[in-house]
């Protein structure tokens, strides 16, 4: 964990919510059969709002940003007024009355807009990469601002929490990984709570690489309980908590040709594309590999290294 200052233990929390109505209704449907409890969008929002208000109440200097990822676009639902204090002054402060009210109002408009959007492919997973990128830009800006003009930043003061239900979108792999590495660089912890039926490899890697917590709650009806116990504490109180341990992150790569997860593969030396079998030319960068040379080359490569 980043070194922390005992004087001021407030921090910035950015929450990314997936607010896709179809997604939530399908999630509610699939879990109804078992006794694990279901979670509709309404109860999800209710529970998250309680969590967010708790977070704000723990320390009055805590700052909060809520970003909704909905289908093809993302929207910033709420930002604590003091986040942009330096640049925006009193104009913004007037609008921050009640966090829940503002979030609900914005969410309502967003969902209506989404419903009105013609021909939208509703089954598409939300833009996790876009929402993550926006969140990181916000955090970066806030940190640069806090550090003053000297350019120094105040690391370890920001956390990202992703609440996600849809399965991973493989076409977002590169952009999600870019976002994770950026988070690593600016020392932002990414916590993840996966509400879908299967583990999310993206979020597992994100939590693993940034020292965050990944959680897939068994009892989705009790989401609030998980949120309060696992994701509420600051960096310091976390050291006292028995947090869920990662069960094992899947670091295997998926090949570019069949999207199979592989143990042993071939990597193009020009563009680092991954293939599961020996191909003659790279489908990503178009480089032709010299056919028939690979076995000899392999032996050669092995020799000096072993």
């Amino acid at each position: 964990m980043a070194p922390f200052d005992e004087e001021d233990d407030s921090f910035l929390l950015v929450v990314i919510l997936e607010t896709h109505e179809d997604l939530w209704s399908s999630l509610a449907g699939e879990s109804q059969s078992a006794d694990i409890g279901n979670l509709s969008l309404t109860s999800f929002i209710q529970q998250v709002l309680v969590f967010l208000n708790t977070f704000l109440a723990i320390n009055e200097a805590n700052k909060l940003v809520v970003i909704a990822a909905c289908g093809d676009h993302s929207d910033i639902l709420y930002t604590t007024a003091s986040l942009h204090r330096e640049s925006q002054g009193p104009k913004k402060a007037a609008s921050s009355g009640n966090a829940s009210e503002e979030i609900l109002r914005k969410l309502h408009t967003l969902l209506q807009e989404e419903a009105a959007r013609p021909g939208g492919d509703s089954a598409r997973p939300a833009v996790l990469a876009g929402a993550l990128s926006r969140a990181l830009c916000l955090i970066n800006k806030a940190q640069v601002g806090n550090g003053g003009t000297g350019g120094g930043r105040a690391p370890g003061r920001a956390r990202l929490l992703v609440l996600k239900g849809s399965p991973d979108a493989t076409e977002q792999y590169i952009s999600v990984m870019n976002a994770i590495f950026a988070a690593q660089k600016v020392e932002v912890v990414i916590d993840a709570c996966m509400l879908g039926a299967h583990d999310s490899a993206f979020l597992q890697q994100a939590a693993h690489l940034t020292d965050g917590v990944y959680l897939r709650p068994k009892h989705k009806g009790a989401l609030l309980q998980y949120l309060l116990t696992v994701f509420c504490g600051d960096a310091f109180s976390r050291s006292f908590l028995e947090l869920p341990r990662p069960a094992g992150v899947d670091f295997r790569a998926a090949c570019f040709c069949h999207r199979r997860a592989i143990d042993l593969g071939y990597v193009c030396s020009v563009c680092l594309s991954i293939f599961c079998e020996n191909v003659t030319d790279c489908s990503t960068c178009g480089t032709a590999f010299r056919a028939g040379r690979t076995p000899a080359l392999k032996r050669k490569a092995v020799g000096p290294l072993s």
């Binding site: 093809d72 830009c137 800006k141 076409e171 952009s175 950026a182 191909v279 480089t287």
Partner: protein
């Protein structure tokens, strides 16, 4: 004065004037002339805390953007992603001179440690080794290896400078170790030189020839002054040569070698490399790894998928079967070199004004703050709104050519330096097609090489 010499009979007083001018110029030192017409203090303003702030950030920001843009412009080319880099550190007695604080050696060692960390951050599949040269000979400090910690701990040990540097010995040793690397690897040598002379057993130009023959790219960063043989080395092998003006400049020059260099299709044979994605062992007693060569038992670690041997850290090559072991994040870390974010264009003030008027009403409904905001961080982009009370200064506004979203300067820098994602493009409806377009372009660019 060339002008006065070419005029056959110049008027008397005119010549005098000219002489005076020449005298004045001669009185001024070279560094002073650079600042002659520079009134930078007039562009400063004091804020309520007594801090000095520039009135207009834009010039400073534009200069920074130019650097970023030049990096972005070179991004769309084929690069040598798998690098084998030998670093040669000059530990001759010239390295103990104190013109850099505390001395050249300490500065070189400090910068090099930072470089090694950054190098492995950006090039996770690459290898690096360190050679030192002093007393007329070259010594191997560390072998070509993939883990930064080993190199850094060696550098932190006491290194003392003495004797002369030997360019030829160092290059021979570097070439020898780079000879055995696989053909898809890019061979590079980076020399940090302090001495102005080299003490060689034979003809140093033979080393240049050998480097060229072995396709080794030699780059040199000097801390003293330009040396002819260094220039020859870099020119012949396609490397770069820079001489540092001061500590900061030295760091900049060295860090230029962090991103993978552009490569020609002929440089290294493209090939498919067999690699293993190692599984992480469980924590606890069952997950220990034993490396026989170092006779060390360590906890955790990874299992090689081919021979089931256990290794401690990734990326590495399996100590039993020699397979390159990596994890998928290592590959993903390099992808941003291949699929860079397009450079954003700066919005001229006039265009901003019209845009503001046109979209003011619509945006007011969206966001509670009037005017324009940065798409990523919601900071106000309207200079007039920003300027109330606080001397925040005027800032550059940029726009992504793809998604037409506006960004502030801070986000622009963050997106291109760290994030490597455009939030606007990822969030817009046509995000998939945009990304495909990017890939297609990439392919074209690579074909051209």
């Amino acid at each position: 004065m060339a002008a006065s010499a070419s005029t056959p009979h110049p008027p008397e007083n005119w010549e005098e004037d000219d002489d005076q001018e020449a005298d004045e110029a001669a009185e001024m030192e070279a560094f002073q002339r650079q600042y002659e017409d520079n009134f930078s203090w007039e562009a400063l303003q004091e804020d309520e805390f007594g801090r000095l702030r520039p009135l207009d950030f834009r010039e400073e920001q534009r200069a920074k953007r130019r650097r970023l843009l030049s990096a972005a412009a070179t991004a769309c080319i084929r690069r040598g992603m798998i690098r084998y880099l030998q670093i040669v550190v000059d530990l001759s007695r010239a390295a103990s001179i104190g013109d850099m604080r505390p001395n050249r050696l300490a500065v070189m060692s400090g910068v090099l440690q930072g470089f090694i960390r950054n190098f492995f951050d950006e090039n996770p599949l690459s290898h690096l080794g360190i050679i030192i040269t002093r007393n007329g000979i070259a010594q191997r400090l560390t072998d070509l290896a993939g883990s930064p910690e080993a190199h850094i701990s060696k550098l932190q040990g006491n290194l003392d400078a003495s004797g002369d540097a030997s360019l030829q010995n160092a290059m021979d040793m570097a070439a020898e170790s780079l000879k055995s690397i696989p053909p898809y690897g890019h061979r590079e040598v980076l020399i940090l030189s302090a001495a102005l002379s080299t003490c060689d057993p034979g003809n140093v130009l033979d080393a240049v020839k050998a480097a060229k023959q072995n396709e080794i790219r030699v780059s040199i960063v000097g801390v003293a002054a330009e040396v002819h043989i260094c220039r020859v080395f870099t020119q012949e092998t396609g490397g770069t040569y820079g001489v540092a003006l001061n500590e900061k400049h030295f760091e900049e020059l060295v860090f230029e070698h962090v991103p993978p260099p552009p490569s020609l299709a002929t440089d290294a044979a493209a090939s498919l490399v067999r690699m293993g994605f190692a599984n992480r062992n469980q924590d606890g007693v069952g997950g220990t790894a034993f490396i026989g060569k170092e006779c060390k038992l360590s906890s955790g670690g990874f299992t090689c998928p081919r021979c089931k041997a256990r290794v401690v850290d990734l990326p590495c090559s399996c100590h039993i079967c020699g397979l390159t072991l990596i994890s998928s994040p290592h590959l993903a870390r390099s992808y941003h070199h291949l699929f860079p974010v397009k450079a954003f264009t700066e919005m001229p003030q006039a265009e901003l004004d019209t845009l503001k008027e046109r979209s003011g009403g619509r945006r007011e409904r969206d966001r509670d703050s009037g005017g324009m905001t940065c798409y990523a961080c919601l900071a106000d982009l309207d200079p007039i709104a920003v300027d109330h009370g606080e001397a925040a200064g005027v800032s550059v506004v940029v726009r992504c050519p793809e998604c037409r979203q506006l960004f502030c300067f801070d986000c622009d820098a963050f997106i291109h330096e760290t994030l490597h994602n455009c939030p606007g493009c990822l969030c817009s409806a046509g995000n998939e097609s945009a990304e495909d377009g990017n890939h297609a372009e990439q392919t074209d660019a690579m074909d051209e090489e």
